[in-house]
């Protein structure tokens, strides 16, 4: 099979403005991926499928990645002119200062496609597409028109990560119900506070359970008399449950 660089060159020769970039994978597997421009993704995908030599006719897997905003610390050396007292006289002196600056690199969502060729028995070729950010510009083109097997997996990525695939024939939530508002696989997803009974909690679950306990105790002392009502109801229903 062609190397990623060769595939990159082939794509760029075939599709103008494809904007392919190799994303290296430093692990021993060395499974480098190709990042493509969402604007030309459908053409690139069609080329990869229809090209006689690559013939990537099988889309094995679609998944999502959530990249949070990253705080990057940089050390910058800067030369600037400072007025300073030198030998009792005020002079302008050039000074080299090392400065650490922080900037925030905005996060994005990424869709990853693993392609194989059944005809040529090679693969995988890994494609990546990135959204502009992870809040309001989360559209990516759907590759379902090229590989039908992307349909359910793109729906899953839409459900769990919130990437909106434009051109998808039936983009509905797959695992969660239609009225669900969150995207559970996003890294900043917070589960609903249902930590009322965690008999063997530890680590993060223990933290949540303790927080829940503290909150519910505060609520029950605030409610005062109302707190006794559920206990009564439980007694009543207890006999029913035994029956």
């Amino acid at each position: 099979m062609k190397t990623v660089e060769q595939i990159k060159a082939a794509i760029e020769a075939a599709v103008a403005g494809a904007g392919v970039e190799v994303v290296p994978n430093p692990s021993p597997s060395g499974q480098h991926s190709l990042r493509i421009e969402p604007g030309r993704a459908v053409e690139v995908a069609r080329f990869l499928r229809d090209d006689a030599e690559l013939a990537l006719d099988f889309l094995s897997n679609v998944t999502g990645v959530d990249w949070l905003d990253r705080e990057i610390e940089e050390t910058v050396t800067e030369t600037r002119t400072v007025t300073r007292m030198v030998d009792g006289v005020e002079q302008a002196v050039e000074e080299t200062v090392e400065e650490t600056r922080q900037r925030i690199e905005p996060g994005f969502l990424e869709a990853v496609y693993h392609l194989y060729s059944v005809a040529k028995k090679h693969g995988p070729v890994v494609l990546r597409m990135r959204t502009v950010n992870r809040t309001d510009q989360v559209e990516l083109p759907s590759l379902t028109p090229i590989w039908r097997s992307a349909e359910f997996q793109e729906r899953e990525v839409f459900d769990l990560y919130g990437i909106i695939f434009t051109g998808h024939p039936d983009l509905r939530r797959l695992l969660m119900w239609p009225g669900f508002k969150d995207h559970p696989m996003r890294r900043d997803y917070v589960e609903p506070d249902d930590f009322e009974y965690e008999p063997t909690a530890h680590d993060r679950v223990l933290e949540r359970a303790l927080a829940h306990q503290a909150a519910s105790e505060a609520a029950s002392t605030a409610a005062g008399e109302k707190a006794s009502e559920p206990a009564e109801a439980a007694e009543q229903q207890g006999t029913e449950a035994d029956a």
């Binding site: 695992l175 969660m176 119900w177 249902d194 008999p199 439980a234 229903q237 029913e240």
Partner: protein, 204 residues
């Protein structure tokens, strides 16, 4: 009132069969528990195995798996109940005719099991419907399911037709319908049925 065992055996030797209505009634009920035919996850595979020749649940009168809740007496919650599935399970339970029983099979049906912290996993079906027997295990072996079946039969045998502990279908005041949770924006609403389940106090 139960018949004295010694007297019963003695009369039996004479060809006289003595029993109570209660005993007869409970014997009838426990000997033909028809489970509902549905499975939720891998526990269902064990449940299927239980009904097959090697384990043969038919020996206990529970082989007639009914595809309709209207004809079933027993709901075996066999597997992970996802939050998306939970309303359907509660609705099916509501559609079952009394007397009806629930076996929570496996760690997931009891508490969410290994998936407890999952975003879409209900932390135990006992939050919405009354569970009669819980079987631990992941998944429980067919023997364990048979044991739970026998436990349930023992429970039915011990029920009285009158008095405080009588079955729900003989208690006109008992509510037969359990509220079905609705899909909320972030979770099921309500998170549990306080009439059925209240969080036990955990000492830390």
């Amino acid at each position: 009132m139960a018949v004295d065992e010694g007297l019963k055996t003695e009369l039996g030797k004479q060809g006289v069969f003595v029993t109570t209505l209660e005993e007869l009634y409970n014997w009838g009920r426990r000997s033909s528990l028809w489970p509902m035919q549905f499975g939720l996850a891998c526990c269902a595979i064990e449940m299927i195995a239980t009904t097959m020749a090697r384990y043969d649940l038919a020996r206990f009168g529970g082989e007639v798996f009914r595809p309709s809740p209207r004809q079933a007496d027993l709901m075996i919650v066999s597997g992970t109940v996802t939050k998306k599935m939970a309303p359907a399970v509660v609705r099916l339970y509501n559609q079952m005719a009394e007397p009806r029983y629930v076996i929570a099979m496996g760690a997931c049906a009891i508490s969410g099991g290994p998936f407890k912290q999952g975003y879409n996993v209900l932390k135990g079906i006992d939050r919405y419907i009354p569970v009669d027997v819980c079987i631990p295990g992941c998944p429980p072996r067919p023997e364990a399911l048979i044991h739970s079946f026998m436990t349930l039969q023992k429970k039915i045998d011990g029920q009285h037709l009158t008095g405080k502990g009588r079955p729900r279908h003989l208690d006109a005041g008992a509510r037969g319908e359990f509220p079905v949770p609705v899909y909320g924006e972030h979770d099921l609403e309500p998170k549990s049925n306080p009439g059925v389940w209240n969080a036990p106090k955990v000492r830390r």
